[in-house]
Symmetry: C2
Subunit: 244 residues, 2 copies
Amino acid sequence: MANPTAAMLVIGDEILSGRTKDKNVGFLAERLTEAAVDLKEVRIVSDDHAEIVAAVRALSARWDHVFTSGGIGPTHDDITADAIADAFDTPIDVREDARALMAMHYDRNGVEMNAARLRMARIPDGADLIDNPVSIAPGFTLRNVHVMAGVPAVFQAMVVSVVPTIKGGQPVISRTLRANRPEGEIAEPLGLVASQHPEVAIGSYPFILNGKFGSNLVFRCADEAALDRAVTAFQTAFPEAVEQ
Amino acid sequence: MANPTAAMLVIGDEILSGRTKDKNVGFLAERLTEAAVDLKEVRIVSDDHAEIVAAVRALSARWDHVFTSGGIGPTHDDITADAIADAFDTPIDVREDARALMAMHYDRNGVEMNAARLRMARIPDGADLIDNPVSIAPGFTLRNVHVMAGVPAVFQAMVVSVVPTIKGGQPVISRTLRANRPEGEIAEPLGLVASQHPEVAIGSYPFILNGKFGSNLVFRCADEAALDRAVTAFQTAFPEAVEQ
């Protein structure tokens, strides 16, 4: 059976302007790969209501899960929760359990629960809260969309609590060979191995090290015996390729 | 007049699996911001012909420019050039000037021009070549789509040669204030400043430093006087916010 699929939607003008470098895509990608969920698409859109609504609708209709990052804080440019609600024509309002969680945390820390912070307790009807051990204001899951914060420490904590609740597929095993040769020298035999082992996904990823091109060859398959056969076939052609 | 718009399309299973962390989005985003071109959307898709074709069509129809990264090497999984050609129903074949460039470079370096390397000279009809000073095999521009390599050193060299050929808009000036306070404490006055200065785009970007939340407030506007008015209005409310 095929693995469940996922997409990620990053909401962030600051990423599109280059001011902030995204760290969340790579983190989520690693966790999903471990959980045997196939991340199929990522989109980064601006802090714009219509853009977020359109992207959420497109991605949630197509893939099994959607993970969003960013735009759920207390400031005027935090518009994600409302956009998610609109994407599913769902009402949104302050939710008592979310408000209570935050009020308790703020009380303990001598922080004021003001109107801006109260916005973070606005949750679309029917959503499940996502735990935020870092700064308490929760994320939420509405249908197949998991809505999380953009600050990497908070995003990561939320991902760690959400991903284990998702039913993964069959873990893919991967083996990586490193050839200190440019792709141009290995492309033909590699293509032959790929065509003779269609059940194994083979990717070639060039790198530059000390001014010289080399290639990392990643073999991926759920069936270990098939994987070994493809790796062996390539190593027969290129005995100097070293397993990483 | 509004700035020209752009999108980026990253083609890469290795990014979606988390194996490789993307560095190209941030680099392109910075160069476009400097050139007063607004990056509006980024998509990352898998090494799949139909996915690439669909994304190129959607993005090129919507935005003034599209920049792609990845999938133009010599191996079997390098399918971007053919997908771009198909996206515009354009024939593609080995192009003599691209082949000659590569042959000369390979000759000089004692490298064999084999069938795999020759694939990198396949260029859709009517495209302009993009210079690749790092490893010579060129990128290309077809209509409004700029097709570049995924290896960061090569991608960066190609971006540096393409972006100056694009007519930018009016550079946006930005000023950043840093407040060592969580967003929840500044959200209300900041929202007021934002609503009173609609011509200034104000973003709030939380961070965690030494376990404490702080906020970077980025004010952006093409009109310096308007920008100064908004910054001054916020500094009046929060005199301890420090310009970065």
